[in-house]
């Protein structure tokens, strides 16, 4: 449980927008990710709230292709 719970807690953010989107994602599409993709998702969670929200909202794109792939999925969530 520990790792998944740690992840779930790190989806608790200062922005309600991210709480909603990240929880939707964790409860759905996350399951189908490969372990590499899961690591990429964890890395994205270390971003500042507004920077992460800019990615999710489509105001910015991620630095790398693997990150962008996860971002695209977050945008659908």
């Amino acid at each position: 449980m520990g790792d998944m719970d740690r992840l779930r807690w790190r989806c608790r953010r200062g922005l309600l927008e991210l709480d909603i989107v990240l929880t939707r994602f964790l409860d759905g599409p996350y399951e189908a990710l490969s372990s590499v993709q899961r690591d990429t998702f964890s890395a994205l969670l270390t971003l500042a709230d507004n920077d992460l929200w800019d990615l999710v909202a489509g105001r910015n794109d991620a630095q790398t292709a693997p990150e962008q792939e996860i971002v695209e999925r977050l945008r659908q969530a």
Partner: protein, 587 residues
Amino acid sequence: MALPTRKFDAVVVGAGGAGMRAALQLAEAGLKVGVLSKVFPTRSHTVAAQGGIGASLGNMGEDSWLWHMYDTIKGSDYLGDQDAIEFMCRMAPEVVYELEHFGMPFDRNENGTVYQRPFGGHSRDFGAGPVQRSVCAADRTGHAMLHTLYQRNVRANTVFFVEWMALDLIRDASGQVLGVTAMEMETGEVWIFHARATLFATGGAGRIFSASTNAFINTGDGLGMAARAGIPLEDMEFWQFHPTGVAGAGVLITEGVRGEGGYLLNKNGERFMERYAPTMKDLASRDVVSRAMATEIKEGRGCGKEADHILLKLDHLGVDVVEKRLPGIREIAKKFANVDPVKDPIPVVPTCHYQMGGIPTNYHGEVVVPTPGNVSTVVQGFYAAGECACASVHGANRLGTNSLTDLLVFGKASGNRVIEYLKENPGHKDLPADAGEVSRARLARLDGQTKGESVFEVGAEMRRTMQAHCGVFRFPDMLTEGVARIEEVTERVKRTEIQDKSKTFNTARIEALELDNLIEVARSTMICAEARKESRGAHDRADYPKRDDESWLKHSLWYAADNHLEYKPVVLKPLTAQSFEPKVRSY
């Protein structure tokens, strides 16, 4: 076995704007400061603040702290304490310029001065017309403020305990506060933080309602801890509902939208705020706008199939203004309301946004409680600042941008007071023999519970009850029933059960502990609201539509142990200014 203990001069619980401003003051004075936070500091809810910080810099035209004070008192519907309000409005420019010097990237005018935007409820010359008083960093004011304060704290050697959850206050037999117990999420271990001074800056508790702009972490932990330790909670009936949360999601559409020229429409396409507030129109204070919206909906002029929301129109501003001045709004509307606001209006409803009440303090941030012969006796060693505190500068309603002002002013002031107190009171007082016992018992109860209640279900029931019985418009029968219902929910909270008993990052346990705090906030809100037989600021009763200064110009104090209420007078005497006598409010 005694719990492991860490010692600090001062422990600050909460690393949002208020906690970090206070910690900075303490650390820069050379004190040993520990700051606890459930999440990484810059992920505190302050990050959500977009609109700005209110301060009468006068960069966009004449302004004065006295006008700011007048607006704040009027906005508070005369329930704010005028000594604290004067203190805040006078200090505001100073703390803003300090923040600028700390490196805060404020928006600027062409002449290099800090730009100030207009905001609801702020006026020049005692209500003569709108004034531009809000300083901002694009739509990232809170974010920039947290990052600026965090960097500065790191430089000053503040010690952060990140992903630690404070559980209970430690008081000795004399009532003095000696620190907190806290759980490290990573290990599930409980520690005692033994402090000479303890400062709460745990933020608001907006998650007691189903429609809320607040992030999930806003569970009122400081209020729950204080209430369980015998400290009353003040003015808990007053909750600001933001007029424009996205219908169904809660996500906020900033008031800046109306500041920049957006306006509200009913189903007939009427700009109805012209009827309710002829001068300020869509820029009237939040309670005026929320009530107007609720009235439109109640009288059948709401929009949509269910006639249950209002439309916020901004397409006339043009793509350029929307993108430049209101950059986040377009994406939010698309994602949570499924509309593009440069083409179509956004469906919105009044949504719980801000808690005016909290832990009672004076304007030095000292926690104060009534004792025989003194309505405001200082609790030794205990301080509170920010949204969890009630100073009370917001009274029955807060003006937009005054919360960030509150964080900076009272964060700093409480820090200064702690410094003075520690000079006069050297050394740690001994912990009581049973320190930490309360927390251990709570955790043992939770772990040992069988045939118990689901945290999720009981929490949902609490939120539904608060929303239906104690929302933006309050009806007597609903309140009476609400009191009974919330007591039932309280009984269920005592029997919550978690399936997962693991130690590492057990979010189920954390959420159960949060619910223990939320329920104290919900109870206090319902009881205070039922008892207050008038309408004032954000407390709006159908059966008592008017403010009643004769009976109700007073603060409520709610005690958790037996649900009883006491009242204390509003401070009508400012520090130096003339008192603003209660007047009928119109905008």
